[in-house]
């Protein structure tokens, strides 16, 4: 009867980034997030999905609907098996990029959500978890 509360989407190609965005849009709509909150979460997901693909050489987005006592939220985990981030302070600096990007992905995504956690090991992949509460 009720929709599933967790799932995952692969991040193996550029098209998967589009699909991940659409998945997050659907989920935030189902949870009746405001339009601005939907857009923030979709945009954060797009940045992190691209990071997982470009820098992490692919991975997956895991999603989970959180049912708190008085609130409801959406948690997204972006996991890749890539080279990891050797210098986290640098990676979390606005405008810094190890590739060709603008360097706004990680820091920008962090500003768009309520909770942000990053865990990375050199040669052990990167896991970024974000949560936005309604």
């Amino acid at each position: 009867m009720s929709s599933p509360t967790k799932g995952e989407s692969p991040l193996r190609s550029e098209h998967d980034i589009v699909l991940a965005r659409q998945q997050v849009r659907r989920l935030t709509q189902e949870l009746k997030f405001s339009l601005v909150d939907q857009t923030k979460m979709v945009t954060a997901a797009s940045e992190l999905a691209r990071n997982a693909l470009i820098y992490g050489k692919g991975g997956a987005m895991h999603w989970e609907v959180l049912q708190g006592e008085s609130r409801i939220g959406l948690k997204l985990l972006f996991a890749d098996e890539g080279p990891g981030i050797p210098n986290m302070d640098l990676a979390m600096t606005d405008g810094w990029t190890s590739g060709n990007g603008l360097g706004m992905g990680l820091t920008g995504a962090k500003r768009l959500v309520n909770e942000f956690e990053i865990d990375s090991k050199v040669n052990g992949g990167t896991r970024v978890t974000i949560t936005r509460w309604k």
């Binding site: 550029e14 857009t39 923030k40 940045e47």
Partner: protein, 127 residues
């Protein structure tokens, strides 16, 4: 092959982005548009993003690049129709698109383009 159409309207080019673009498609648009600006000796470009529900740093950079590249090729670019939720998100993300002219809708964007181009013409005469 997927493609974003570029319409010629007199001396202007109009691009209406109506689909959720993947990154290569955005890059292809940037390429196609620079070629079209040169081929048509275009003075102004309008990019209508009123159907876009999200602009992330990749698309934001594409828009800024098109605007900068257009200027070098002699064309003014105006971004029109950004949804309020997209604008709020973009600023919070850290992209305020400096140097990119914007307008509320295509009509106002067109009027702004005409004014900019007329002003440029006047400058040339004055010198």
């Amino acid at each position: 092959m997927e493609k974003i159409p570029i319409l010629r309207m007199g001396e202007f080019l109009l691009v209406t982005i109506q689909i959720d673009m993947h990154d290569q498609l955005a890059l292809k648009l940037q390429d196609d548009l620079s070629n079209a600006i040169q081929k048509n000796a275009t003075k102004g470009v309008l990019i209508d993003i009123s159907s876009l529900e999200m602009v992330d740093s990749f698309i934001g950079r594409m828009v800024a690049d098109i605007s900068g590249m257009g200027r070098i090729l002699g064309a003014e670019t105006i971004l029109v129709g950004m949804q309020p939720a997209v604008a709020i998100t973009l600023v919070e993300l850290g992209l305020s698109l400096p140097g990119v002219a914007t307008a509320l809708n295509v009509e106002r964007g067109m009027a702004l383009l005409r004014r900019k181009i007329d002003a440029d013409g006047a400058d040339v005469v004055a010198h």
